[in-house]
Symmetry: C2
Subunit: 313 residues, 2 copies
């Protein structure tokens, strides 16, 4: 059983417009909406693969109700805690003329200290009662959440003998490292921002020294790198150049990591799935959607090689 | 008692962003939302003046629930019918740098024939049980609503011996005319589109020949013109040039017309209020809000004159 935590869950709204004009009035020709936020996206992918998962986090207001309703409609199990504030929306305006997108991100609800305490108790109960093996904590923090929110979650999860994957950045990631997460998954920009190091192997080594057990760095089109506590580092890359929409590729990668941890797969095997699932997300017509058959086909084509670049030290 | 009908009620969402960049990603610094749609706005204004009013129309889904919740919070009485589709949102992105706005309008729910029939029964019951004097039908039709929706409403209202004000345009307005509405209130562009006549007095006379009893034409900064069935035509204009936001001025004008009809005021007096309330909406800091003290002050300054331009014939 995997639990995903999304503290700033969202309702992702997509508007199609003929074209976008600054300061104009636009008739929206099509509206789509879908529960989102990184952890929710991870749960969606896992659910598509038939892997037992529950999405939790904090939601509130009418938008929170819409997030729950969408997950119900898609058959994604969820057990969110409540907050008094209104969950955030993201509005993604896509021009049907050019395909370009213009995005508006609401900040999200202000979480009070009491709501945060209630949520940590709620999460602790959920991990205990579900016997979860793996907890994934991903995405930005809502206003008001403590900056060490992910550190607290890592401690709570480890105290329940489950493993914790953190996909975050900046100070919340830095704080989480000290609590000893089992896996962190920065991309190159996030790695550089936290460590000050641009080279992925050396940067990953810094994250390990700061407390992470295994470090997976997503390298965009160049694939991924894993620097584990035990055994050699590996690089993995797709067997073909991919043209598509990278939205959701990172969440598909985190889903593959969580699935691999829960199933006890070794890193070379997990890395094949990380790249295959990400590649399937990139090639998908619907942003963030991953078709298992496509993911398996792409995973079989992944090139994996041990890497012991001097930069590792 | 006044009833306002809003068939395509909306949740009006305002986003503040530092500045708008085409194809960029924007952090929304402030979110405001408010129930809207023309009839809802008319009910809000009447409610601010302490005039008994009930907002009805069709709402559905989570956005429909948010529309009802906002009216509850603002103390505006409402009794909407339900539809299965999701009520529309409008997203108004305002740049804090320039004050300019970029607007996205969702199309609204597709109303089925069965939902439309249920609504007309619902409205008939509401008019009968409330003993309404005046029913206001304003704004665009949702997809699926019959093009003669306003004509049907006028007939229903007249059969209950109440008076009906229609603020619509295009074919729905043209159809409504044949049913004999007590007042229609086009602006100049709407008048020209329906009659093919650019001169307001002559255009209003055409609307009267097509079935409207009294015609009020809003002339923007030049005030308003009324061409009633009984008595002379009047023009009224604000006593000062107004700089501000014209959003909601038309709805404030319709609110003043409905209030005047309900109270049995004569046209010169109503015209003073039409211009005063509209002017208060233009000068308001919050779009569409009308402060009664300000509206009364401005109404007292309105210049009203009889007009018998040869064009009237």
């Amino acid at each position: 059983m995997i639990i995903t935590v999304t503290l700033n869950a969202a309702l992702d709204i997509t508007y199609e417009v003929a074209d976008l004009a600054l300061w104009g009035s636009h008739r929206v020709s099509a509206v789509r909406q879908r529960a989102g936020g990184k952890g929710v996206n991870v749960a969606s992918v896992l659910s598509t693969f038939g892997i037992a998962v529950t999405a939790t986090g904090l939601v509130g207001g009418g938008t929170g109700a819409a997030i729950r309703a969408d997950l119900d409609a898609r058959g994604v199990r969820h057990a969110f805690g409540d907050c008094a504030g209104e969950s955030r929306r993201t509005v993604n305006v896509v021009s049907t003329a050019s395909g370009d997108a213009t995005i508006f991100n609401e900040p999200g609800p202000v979480v009070t200290a009491g709501e945060w305490r209630s949520f940590t108790s709620w999460l602790d109960g959920l991990v205990r009662e579900s016997g979860a093996d793996v907890v994934v904590a991903s995405g930005s923090l809502p206003p008001g959440a403590p900056v060490d929110a992910y550190a607290q979650i890592v401690e709570l999860v480890r105290a329940r003998n489950a493993r914790c994957v953190v996909d975050a950045d900046g100070e919340p990631l830095r704080r989480a490292l000290a609590a000893g997460p089992d896996v962190v998954k920065p991309n190159l920009a996030e790695l550089r921002a936290v460590t000050g190091v641009a080279a992925p192997l050396r940067g990953a080594a810094v994250l390990r020294r700061l407390g992470a057990r295994d470090v997976v760095v997503s390298l965009g089109a160049d694939g991924v790198l894993v620097v584990p506590a035990d055994g050699p580092a590996y690089r993995a890359a797709a067997g073909q150049r991919l043209a598509g929409n990278p939205t959701g590729a990172g969440d598909a990668a985190v889903a593959a990591i969580a699935a691999g941890l829960a199933r006890g797969h070794d890193w070379p095997r997990v890395m094949g799935e990380v790249v295959g699932w990400s590649a399937a997300a990139v090639l998908s017509r619907v942003a963030g959607e991953v078709r298992p058959v496509e993911a398996a086909r792409l995973a079989a084509m992944v090139r994996i090689e041990e890497t012991d670049d001097a930069g590792k030290a």
